[in-house]
Structures are given as structure tokens and as C-alpha cells.
Symmetry: C2
Subunit: 435 residues, 2 copies
Amino acid sequence: MERMRTTEVMSHVGERIRVAGWLHSLRRMGGINFLLIRDGWGLIQAVAETEEEIAVLQPENVGVESIIVVEGLVKSEPQAPGGVELHELKIELLNPVSEIPPISLNKRKLNAQLNTLLDHAAVTNRHPLRRATLRLSAGIMAGFRDILTSRAFTEIQTPKIVAAATESGANVFQLDYFGRPAYLAQSPQFYKQIMVGVFERVFEVGPVFRAEPHDTTRHLNEYVSLDAEFGFIENHFTVMALLRDVLAHILQTLNEDYRSELELLKVEMPRMPEDVPTIHFADAQELILKLHKTDVRGEPDLSPQDERWLGAWAKQEFASDFLFVTGYPMRKRPFYTHVDPERPEYSNSFDLLFRGTELVTGGQRLHRYQDYLAALERAQLPLEPFEYYLEAFKYGMPPHGGFAIGSERLLMQLLGAQNVKLTATFPRDLNRLVP
Amino acid sequence: MERMRTTEVMSHVGERIRVAGWLHSLRRMGGINFLLIRDGWGLIQAVAETEEEIAVLQPENVGVESIIVVEGLVKSEPQAPGGVELHELKIELLNPVSEIPPISLNKRKLNAQLNTLLDHAAVTNRHPLRRATLRLSAGIMAGFRDILTSRAFTEIQTPKIVAAATESGANVFQLDYFGRPAYLAQSPQFYKQIMVGVFERVFEVGPVFRAEPHDTTRHLNEYVSLDAEFGFIENHFTVMALLRDVLAHILQTLNEDYRSELELLKVEMPRMPEDVPTIHFADAQELILKLHKTDVRGEPDLSPQDERWLGAWAKQEFASDFLFVTGYPMRKRPFYTHVDPERPEYSNSFDLLFRGTELVTGGQRLHRYQDYLAALERAQLPLEPFEYYLEAFKYGMPPHGGFAIGSERLLMQLLGAQNVKLTATFPRDLNRLVP
């Protein structure tokens, strides 16, 4: 008999079927034994009314997480997960587990300390809550790719070992490349811009590396970046319009294809407005002064408190969980940022705040070779390490721009998780290199 | 007027439309000027019958690769690319290019030396032949993801910075992780196995890093690996059956959605047989002795010459471009390889040869904790660096296996390219870190 997935069993009431998976739990209640079997997709209950049926699970050395194959008759049972359970069992033991897992996988909640959870991620990730979280990561990637592919974007994969730092010399991991120094890419920024010269519209889903030497609840030293970049834009508002649609599609993908995960995790899904409220950086600072009597004018960036205030304002005024802040000051943005032609101290860039926290950064980039030469000089950066990158501009680039979404950060904020390490599969931080 | 893509113009004969892109070429023939405009998807011809129409392109400093916007009337013209051309032009110059590109982008062939092509990859990749090649990379990734998603596999992203080498201590890049040594992942092997414990069926598309200190036509130091791993298999034949279907689907995706690229590159697409011919390693060595009077029995691996002979045999005997070789000797396979229970000197592993060259490696892995302890001892490897990995097995794993396809290698062999560096977007080799 072919084994089926636990999530397929509900449509086989009255038939004998076979499932396989992990022994999630085994409870004895008044002579009846209730087994939960977990496979890669869900859980199913099996009921053994005789000791003989579970004889193979009786020895001392057979505990939870043992691998078993269970054949049984499917009966409807509204109380059971999925509305069905198995009876008249025939159980085969494939791989016994004798030790008790360091994390309780069959408790409804995950109650261990963060470090314990992360130390044992190989086991922790099996818990239904963790698994649902990580499955949503897959949904985010799928939604991102789907909409961009449907808009004629081409997927690229760019090098992660690079000769020079992208954003700045700081916060970059150095490695030994056959005796020479090399670095891990902090972002695919330069490469995705170069590839706009090839495909016009490109995206990448891949790891980026930040050697930030601090341990916060919002930062990872390695994370998965969802990058998009495209040409023939008008300005950063063209980029913001695309970003709005991309996030709307990701949310739709989760709502449609990841219903059970969202329910299990009790996610309050945001609604993406057709027109996302938008405020200029300078106006945002004026607003903060007016509403909160705090003068942050002249500051080159928004503080986390500023972002929370602005998020609350967007929620109250526009009933929106999302807010675009545009025109960040040039002096805080990287050298490739396009200036606002009408107010040169400000840039054609934006951040997207989600529930009062920065989620996405993006903007229009410089596209003229001469502008790059001037920008590098202004930033007092040498030309030579950037020559391969500048070649794209020397030989013709259209006005272009793009954005980068941190996928673990997006998931953290969707779930209201307390720490981004809980939305990464195997997080890397200052002290953590395993698992 | 909204700009449209060049590939959309053919269905607008008789209308005035607008395109934008790179000035691919400008030829003057008897007072008439022929422009080719290249955008992210294709080429379109525009015909200027007066000097006035192209006045904006006349100054000395406007050369090929300049960014232009062209409005014109669509006329049917069977000789032109796409069967249409633009007339009565209105041209806008968005970004002029004055220097002549280091690579001729408007010649049919790419004739430069390999090093010149790679040094200027930012420009080279714009050539229609290069672009078609890189677009096929996107098709390979899409086909891989589609079929695995349709079979209930979950996409994962695993860490690239790791605490210990995967396959062996050699050939691994070392980096400075906040003062501690760390390494770049040589493969997601351990993590994808751990994640079989979570999702049962997983895949990953991501970079892998091999510090192999030699410069060959078949190796890259960073490449994109298409990894799959899944549980509840019978043995390596279950894995081979999945691999057959995955490759068949990738080929189908290219045949259906990447027709124009395949034609431009004159790719001779292979046919994937329903039943891929399969030969055991030991029988393959006997066959080589019989057919070629060369005794390779006792060798622990197949040489490139052996693979070519076997490939030719599969082609002649079974009219197949593909051949599975199974049961490679245990002593040449990594410690996590599952032994052949009936012939313990051989393993439950395989290679897939494509046109006489190894394309994919895979097999069944060990799944019992005790087997891992024994295997590590046999391999004289210490336990400690693997403890996080072994935890997955300590707490229950089903029989499982998987495979890894080198995406650039697959593309190289499909195209019959002479060097795998030509099927990578920005290759990394012993001497090359840029672009």
C-alpha cells in the first residue's frame, strides 16, 4: 500500500490507508492509546484499542520522535486534528528513538529560553509552531518570485564572494581567497544594477552578510534578502508602486496558500492599501514636532521612536499599517543614491514602515557615469575598486531603481515575533555559528 | 504614451507605439538609417528616412549603447527581427554613450578571448547570446522549483557561514567571524538533511563555495547548487526516480518557455527517457574492460575517459544522453553515505552522466544515529564539530536521500559550452574576483 500524506487522509473516510512519520505523542487513557503521528505536512491521530496493536512501541527504548509507519481504517472524528482518526492499527517501527528531545515538541507552546531553542534548532524547527513559521518563509519567497516573474523580471544569482565592500568598508566579513583578501557581499546592489543593463528587470533571493558587531532583536549577521531592481523608471515613486504591489502579492499568497499556518500562528494579517500613505522626510520631522513636541529637525535619520510615532499616525489618519517615508537626506544614503533634483540635500529614496518599524529601503539610483565619478569623489572613495561596476554606467544605463526586503524581518513583523532570530531557520549572530 | 516591450510590438501593426532601450546599432544605407533598439527582452528595428528624425543621435558623442526612447509607426516587415519595424520616428536621447564598448555587442558572434569576455562581464552579459544563456539559468531554477513545489517540497534557505567544513577539511574558504575562524558552506548537505526532519521534502537554490586551487574548464569556486533532499525513500533508486522527473521537467520548462533562447543558441535539447539506463559501478568497470580492453577494476572512481566511454555506450545501446551509474565504492564517498546492505564495499549512491560527463551526484544517506557514530569513527573524524548535525539523527530520522545539481554545469552541458565560466553570470576562479 502506498503511503499518503496526513493532510490527504480526510478524504479517505472508510478506507484503510497508510501514513508514515514521527511519533509525535502517545497517551494512554483508560486502556485506550492515542497516538499522534506527525509527517512533513501535518498531524493525524491514531487510536489503539488493544495493547497488541502498539506492542511494537512498548519497549523502553521507543519514545517520541521514533519513525513509524501506520496502517489503519479512517474514521470521521470531529474532535481529532483534521477531523479524522485511524483505527484497527498495524504499526511498523522504522527507526526507534530512545532519548527524550531537549525541546518538547508535543506541547502546544514552545516555552524554552531563546538560547535553548536556538542551540537545538535541529529539533526546535520540528515543533508545529516553528514549522509553520518557516513554511511562511517559503511562502514569502514564492510570492515575491511569482509577481516579479509575471511582470517580466528575470531571476539572477550574483556572487557572494566579492573583491570590495558594497555599502561601506565597515561591517564586512573578510575571508582568505587563495591567499588574497576577499569579502562577503553585504548586498547584491552593484550586481543587480549591472544586470539592469542586461535584462532591465531583475530580482534575486539570496543570502547577504553583515558583520555588525552588536546583538539586537532586529539584526542577523546573515539573512535572506529579497532584491529587485529595474530600469526606465520615472523616479523613486515608480519603485514604490512596484514595492506596494509586490508586498500586496506576498500577503495574498500567504492568505491563499498558507491559511493553516496563519491560523496556527494566530497571525493578524495587514491589509495593503491601494494607495499607501506617503510623507516626505522633512514633513515627517515637522509632524513629529507638531504632534509630540519633540524637535528632530536636522537629524539625518529617523529614530526607532520617530518611526513608531509615524506608524501610529498612519494607522490613525489612514487606517494603514504601512507608511512610505520619502526623501531621506543625501548625507545618510549610500553614494549611488539619486539626488532629488529639486531639493539637492534630499534624495530620491524611501523607507517603507510597517507597523511603525522600517521594513524596506529603496530608491532611485544614479544612472550617469559622470554622476558616479562625482559621487565617489564627494564620498572620498577611490575609483579603482569600483571600476568593474562603473563600466555598466560608462556604456549606457537607463534611470533605474529598486529595493531590498529582509525576508526574516518581514516575517518577524508579520508574526509580531519578539526577535528576528525566531524567524530565521538557523540564525547567525555575534556568538552563534551552530547549528 | 506608455512604453511597451520590444517583444510586444508585433501585435500592434498600424499603430504608433513607444519603445525604449539601448541603441544596439545604427547603420546608414543609401540615405536611409537603420536603428536597432535593444531592450530587456529583444530587439526591434527602426527606420529613419530623413536626417531630421535621427538628428538627436548625430553628435559625435552619441554612440551605441546610448539610452533612447523611440516612438514610431509599426509596419510589417518580414526581414526585420520580430517581423515588424518602426517608421516615422520621434527619438528622445535619455543618456548618451560616447565611448566604444570593449566588447562588440552588435556582432552576431562573441569573438573576444575568454579573459576579455570575463573581465568585461558587465558589458559582455548584454550580448544577445550571453543574455540568452543567462536567461536559461533562470529557466533552470524555475523548472527545478516548480516540479518540487508541485510534489509538496518546501523551499529552504540554509546558512552559508558555518562552523565546520561539510565534506572534508580541504577546499573550504576560511573567514574571520568576529575574531573566530568560520567557513563558507561547501554544500547545504547537513542542513537539508536536518530539514528533512522538519518538512520531509525540501529543496534549496543557493550558492556553494569550493576553495579548489585549480583552474579547469569544469569547475567554479562559487556556483549555484540545486539541492533536493527527502524522507521515506526505499533506497537510492527512489532518489534517482525523482531526479529523472526533475530533469525532465527542467527540460520541458526550457522547451516550452525559453524557445527563442534555445533557437538563438542553437541548443540541441536532449530527450529524457522514461527509464534512464542504469549500470552498477562494478559492471561499468567490467564493461570498459570488455569494450575497450582497459582494466580499471579496483579503481575507486570513474575517470573522465571512463565516463565518456560509458556515455557513448548508453547512446549506442539505449539511444539515451543520460546514464545512471550506481553503487560507487564506499571508500570514495562521504561519511554520511548509506552502504549497500548486500555489498558493503559499495554504496547506495549514484552519479548521473549526461553525454558522458558527470552532471549530478546523489544517493541515500545514513539515517540511524548509531550508524553516524560508527561512520565518523571509521572516517577518523571527531564527533564534536558534528554534534549539532547529529542531533537530528538522535531524535529520529526516516530513510532519506537527495541530490545536488550544479546549475552552471547543467547549462554548460546543455549548450555544449567549452567552459563553465561561460555559463556563470560573474564567475569566480583562482584568479578572478571581479566583476
